[in-house]
């Protein structure tokens, strides 16, 4: 896997900085889209465990963000956290809708894949991690998705979840410990 392990950069400017025309606002949105598109998709896909639904929700989140870009308040946080808040709401709405229809589009087991180039031991370990992750509750799976798939810092994670940074760190720590114990148990 060649995915860079660094979080997205270049999104610190606000969408609603005072501008004389909508062009600047559009350019900032486009920049946000370029830098966050893959992160949002990865987060939503991990949360929903459904790539097709993740595409819809990602598209919906960006469209909503575009429509509401003028309502973004810089004082309430970074635009990246704001965007993920929109995506989170859309994903949770999708989860609610699924509960009403009581269907799951994709079997969680299908998400476990062995990547090419892995040695046998690494492949085994990866499978154990994937299995443990799939068994986590949605709330903890969301924390993993925000941290490792969306590349968020603990502060951003806290803003998206609506908790303090220390609480977010504690939640992440507990989730990682749970994941580690599950991996060891399966090994």
């Amino acid at each position: 896997m060649d995915h860079p392990l660094v979080r997205s950069v270049g999104v610190t400017e606000t969408l609603t900085r005072t501008s004389s025309s909508g062009t600047e606002s559009w350019e900032r949105f486009e920049e946000l889209y370029r830098s966050c598109r893959d992160d949002v998709y990865a987060y939503v896909c991990t949360l929903l465990r459904d790539p097709a639904a993740a595409e819809d929700i990602t598209a919906l989140a960006f469209e909503r963000a575009y429509r509401r870009r003028r309502t973004f308040d810089r004082r309430r946080g970074e635009e990246r956290a704001w965007l993920f808040g929109i995506a989170r709401n859309a994903a949770l709405d999708e989860l609610r809708r699924r509960q009403r229809t009581a269907t799951l589009a994709t079997d969680p087991e299908d998400m476990a894949e062995v990547q090419e180039g892995d040695g046998a031991e690494v492949a085994l370990r990866r499978t154990a991690v994937q299995t443990a992750l799939s068994k986590l509750p949605a709330r903890e799976r969301e924390i993993i998705a925000l941290k490792f798939h969306a590349g968020m810092s603990n502060a951003e994670l806290a803003r998206v979840l609506g908790v303090s940074e220390s609480n977010a760190g504690t939640l992440l720590y507990r989730t990682m410990e749970k994941l580690r114990k599950a991996c060891n148990a399966s090994a």
Binding site: M1, H3, L5, V6, R7, E30, Y33, R37, D38, Y41, A42, C45, T46, P51, E55, D56, T58, A59, L60, F62, E63, Y66, R67, N89, A90, L92, D93, L95, R96, Q99, Q115, R125, R126, V129, Q130, L133, P137, A138, R139, E142, I144, K147, F148, H149, G151, S153, N154, L161, G162, V163, S164, S166, N167, G169, T170, L172, Y173, M176, L179, R180
Partner: protein
Amino acid sequence: MRVLDQDPIDPEIVATLDAIDATLAGESVDAQYAELAEIALLLASDRPQTPSEFVRSMDERVERRFAPRPTAGPPRRNRSLLWQSMGALVAGVALIVAIVVATGGAHLSGGSSASSSSASLPLSGAAVPRAAASSAAASSSETSTTAAAASSAGTYGSLTAPIVQPPTTGRKVVQSAQLNLTAAPNRIDAVAQEVYDVVGEVNGIVTSSSITQGGPTGSANFQLSIPSASLGPAMTRLSSLSYAQIVSSTNNSQDITNQYNATTAALADARALRTSLLKQLANAVTTEQVDSLTAQIHDAEASISSDLATLGKLNQQVNFSQLQVTINARAVPTPVAHKSGGFGIGRAAHDAGRVLTVTAGGALITIAALIPVGLLVALAWWVGAAIRRRRREHALDSV
């Protein structure tokens, strides 16, 4: 989301989080965190990849700035439109309610005296029959009821004179009433004619009348004699004349049953005495007896005549009620006099001030009506948002 209260954070947790961050940044970590670092790397490397087809599709949509496509959009759009429609509907209803409340408030402020006066009339009228009944039971008593209406312009339309009549079964009751009306100065004659018409309809008598008209003032006074049985209908008609409004009305009643009975008894006694005297006169022998009896008979007849006159007068009072109607010209607001006579700065400033005052009053009433409506809408929005947020968080717990 569950909120934990662990501030400051445990040092061990801080060290673990730092190790995770260092691992993700490609830095080396202490050996005790090697296992956690491995898991972190595996998790990060398992990040779902965005499908290239979806990337192309999204790029196109973003390039189009999410312009609507002919194909159906995401399912949530329909729901969003539904919410927007409901929001517009709620806003419209709130606006209508505000306008209705504002209009109602303005009406109340302008016509409050009319409402209170209308309410007071039946109340005062209802209190009277009990008083009249008690007076009827007494030997002879008087009852007087007065209903006054507000004198401000525009408050008369819904007012009618309370027609209060004591129970007259087997009793001799004298009734009278006074009615005060107002009319436009140029309508005094018309109202007077209406009064004559009403008197004619109930077979009443205009005992006296006085009508004065001319200029901004004018008045009319009528002393009417109305058959007691028609007093109620006459008052009703007079209180709803075309060009007059009622200001006040007074009803008086006096029970004269005892006086009437006493006079009747005296009359009977006088007649019996005369009959007796006539018999004695027939048997009289001497001149002195005849003269004496003749004088007594004259006295008895005089007494009979007096009693008959009294009875006739009492019957007249009982059968015909006295009604006094007064009509006064309504005060007409005089226009503000301007020295220049035509349109000038002063008049313009006065008019502008009036317009601003009325506008400010209207705006104040509207704001007063909109504030509670706005608070209700804000409360409903806040409750809705809280419920929506709670349901979303619940969705995470139930998966």
